[in-house]
């Protein structure tokens, strides 16, 4: 069943190559449909290949495509195991829906075909990342998704803000990649290979605790860059400059989960390094709370979702750091459903409002666009953690598992619980501000429901957000049994046993959601002046949150400004004065020597004649006398 695995990567790649060269002739909307076809067929192939796992009893396999650098275990090989299968299904499934949505959303854009070229390139890169059978190939995909992300954030590159955002994302990701690369070098130095097969089996014999901790922490640096964790999260809110389908696909559902995937994939290493794991969990918890508070006060509909994404990624880090790998991956999946849904819904709203993103200028859209409103409402309930929607099950499993660890993790559990409350509040705030209340938009915009190519993906994603959580409930751990072969070298952390414990913990988190959500609903479902006063009541905290704790200013002052200063010194001090000075000095020395020598060249033949004669005489005298 694994002979055609390479097609899963090759199909979107072929789509990208084809559209790159022929997109201009194919045009709109056919290029969009072609890209969607490539993505959808990859999904179908993945589903067929994953079927044995779903049936149960199939072993993981490695498919060697081409021997690249066999000496260091860096070949083009695909590892097909349940974890890879789940990731591939999420990426291609959610990705295909977003492809279809984008056909409607990007309608009328001058570079319609180029958008789908990049989108397909992203799919191929992400699938390379998750299907890789060794760290070298994973790194290849890792960098390629960075590239596609750069291309797509800066898709509207004529806007200076978009170009700057793309650059920022790239640079911040490089910082993370730096750590990741050192981690890979340490892995190679310890194991002599980069192949998963040669690493995970022997991890506990080869690695000491110190080395495992070093590798784990460096991998965390890489993962924090790609998955937007504190302190490297700053690129993600800016990445909202890209078209909304991009935000949905790359910066919410798939690419940003690469860090979570990396840690889950490397679970065998983290198992030996409790300090590294605890750091992962702590970073995750801090990120979750940090970003959630920022999301509270945002006015831009996409910025709320961006910070919410960072916050939810924090949950996933909290889970994988606590050893609850299945819970983390489970939340990754459910989050992909409802966050893609929320982003696409936001895209539909922005589309309808003629590119208005300020929620203060929305309101009352429920009647104008009921499908978007209801599907987004489902997404809101799902992310808020209202049972029985998807977010409830995954978030509850994370919180339960973290609680079960006890000790330091109890503190992280409280952070997670508070974050759940805040999450429910800001999501309720967003939905109410956009869809309820009096219309606050100007007279000349006429909001309208999106075309069917956009609403159908919304409805499908809403359906998944409702039922997706049932894959892994405490009563039927289907996903856990499915994923178990991928985590054979670790002991999985689970929520505490027993129905009573579950009821208490779930009750607590549901209560947090209900309190937060209800408070948000009540606070914002009133006239504008009232909730403006309500927000003013939280000053100066609210302003700090709205400006995202001014982290960008801090980084600007602490890192960017000194960096520019250093570059200035290097350019104008060192390069211009010393290096150019040396080169120019040699030049002018030669020139001055030439000035001296040129006086010999008078142009008068007789002068040359005298010299000639003098020279000849000297030689003659030397011949006669000297010897």
């Amino acid at each position: 069943m694994t002979d055609f695995l390479w097609l899963i990567i090759a199909l979107p790649l072929a789509g990208a190559v084809l559209l790159h060269f022929l997109g201009r002739f194919v045009g709109e909307p056919l290029s969009g449909w072609l890209a969607s076809l490539a993505s959808t067929s990859a999904f179908v192939f993945a589903l067929v290949a994953a079927w044995p796992f779903i049936q149960g009893g199939e072993h993981s396999t490695t498919v060697l495509l081409w021997e690249w650098m066999p000496a260091i275990g860096a070949n083009l090989e695909l590892l097909w195991d349940p974890l890879a299968a789940l990731m591939v299904l999420v990426v291609t499934g959610v990705g295909s829906l977003i492809h279809f949505f984008a056909i409607g959303y990007m309608h009328g854009d001058d570079r319609f075909d180029r958008f789908f070229t990049s989108l397909n390139l992203f799919m191929a890169s992400m699938l390379t990342l998750v299907l890789a059978g060794n760290y070298a190939m994973l790194f290849l995909g890792w960098e390629l998704v960075g590239l596609s992300s750069y291309l797509l954030i800066g898709f509207w590159f004529t806007r200076p803000s978009a170009a700057a955002a793309a650059k920022k994302a790239f640079v911040v990701n490089r910082i993370g990649d730096f750590g990741f690369m050192i981690a890979l070098m340490l892995v190679f130095a310890s194991f002599g290979t980069l192949s998963y097969a040669g690493i995970f089996e022997r991890a506990d014999e080869v690695l000491g605790v110190g080395m495992a901790t070093a590798i784990g922490l460096l991998m965390l640096v890489g993962a924090a860059g790609k998955s937007a964790q504190v302190p490297l999260y700053v690129w993600l809110p800016d990445a909202m400059e890209g078209p909304t389908p991009v935000s949905a696909l790359i910066h919410a559902a798939t690419m940003v989960t690469a860090g979570v995937y990396l840690i889950a994939r490397s679970s065998a290493i983290f198992e030996i390094a409790p300090i590294a794991s605890t750091t992962v969990a702590t970073v995750g918890a801090i990120t979750a709370l940090w970003a959630a508070t920022i999301a509270l006060a945002q006015r831009d509909i996409k910025k709320v979702l961006a910070y919410s994404t960072i916050s939810q990624l924090g949950y996933m880090f909290l889970a994988v750091g606590a050893g609850a790998y299945v819970a983390g991956v489970f939340h990754l999946m459910t989050h992909a459903f409802f966050k893609a849904l929320l982003f696409l819904g936001a895209g539909s709203v922005i589309h309808a409002m003629s590119d208005e993103q300020d929620m203060h200028k929305m309101g009352g859209l429920l009647k104008k666009m009921p499908t978007t409103a209801i599907t987004m409402g489902v997404g809101t309930l799902a992310i808020a953690g209202i049972p029985p929607l998807a977010g409830f099950w995954s978030k509850d499993e994370i919180l339960g598992s973290v609680f079960a660890r006890g000790g330091w993790f109890s503190a992280l559990w409280i952070v997670g619980l508070v974050t759940a409350l805040i999450t429910a509040f800001y999501m309720a705030r967003q939905w109410v501000l956009v869809f309820l209340g009096e219309p606050r938009w100007s007279q000349d915009t006429s909001p309208h429901e999106a075309p069917r190519v956009m609403t159908i993906p919304l409805i499908i994603l809403a359906g998944l957000s409702v039922v997706g959580g049932l894959l892994n409930t405490p009563f039927a751990l289907r996903l856990e049994r499915f994923l178990e072969p991928s985590f054979e070298y670790v002991t999985l952390q689970n929520p505490p046993e027993g129905l009573a414990m579950f009821a208490v913990l779930a009750g607590l988190s549901v209560m947090a959601s209900l309190v937060g959500g209800g408070f948000g609903y009540v606070s914002y479902n009133r006239p504008k002046q009232r909730w403006l006063d309500f927000e003013d009541g939280f000053e100066p905290l609210w302003g700090t949150w709205e400006q995202a704790y001014r982290v960008d200013d801090l980084y600007g002052a602490a890192i960017v400004a000194p960096g520019k200063k250093a570059a200035e010194v290097a350019a104008f001090g060192v390069d211009l004065a010393i290096i150019d000075g040396a080169v120019n000095g040699v030049g002018s020395a030669v020139r001055r020597l030439g000035e001296l020598a040129r006086s010999l060249q008078t142009g008068y033949v007789r002068n040359y004649g005298v010299l000639f004669l003098g020279g000849a005489l000297v030689i003659v005298i030397w011949l006669v006398v000297g010897r």
Binding site: A597, R598, S599, L600, Q601, T602, G603, Y604, V605, R606, G609, V610, L613
Partner: protein, 101 residues
């Protein structure tokens, strides 16, 4: 009467000095050219007379080479002088100092 090689050498030296001084002091290109020929032939004379005095044919052989080369040089040199004269209507060497550094 037998004239000894020394006289020939002296004549050659005198001719050479006349040629060299003419080369250095005169301005007319044509005259300078003749001075060069004078110097060449002064050298030829020394070679011939030395060869004769030492009873060595190599002196004459060398002179033949010099004559051939000098003939070729005359052809080129005169052609250049004629070309310059056509263009400039002057034969003064001091006018031709464009290559001054």
């Amino acid at each position: 009467m037998i004239v000894s090689a020394g006289y020939y050498m002296a004549l050659a030296a005198a001719l050479f000095v006349i040629g060299a001084l003419g080369m250095l002091l005169r301005r007319n290109v044509l005259v300078m050219f003749m001075c060069i020929e004078l110097m060449l032939n002064a050298v030829n004379l020394t070679l011939i007379s030395a060869g004769r005095a030492l009873n060595d044919l190599n002196g004459q052989v060398a002179v033949f080479f010099i004559l051939v080369v000098a003939a070729a040089e005359v052809v080129v040199g005169l052609a250049i002088i004629v070309a310059i004269f056509r263009r400039r209507s002057t034969a003064s060497i001091d006018e031709l100092s464009e290559l001054r550094g």
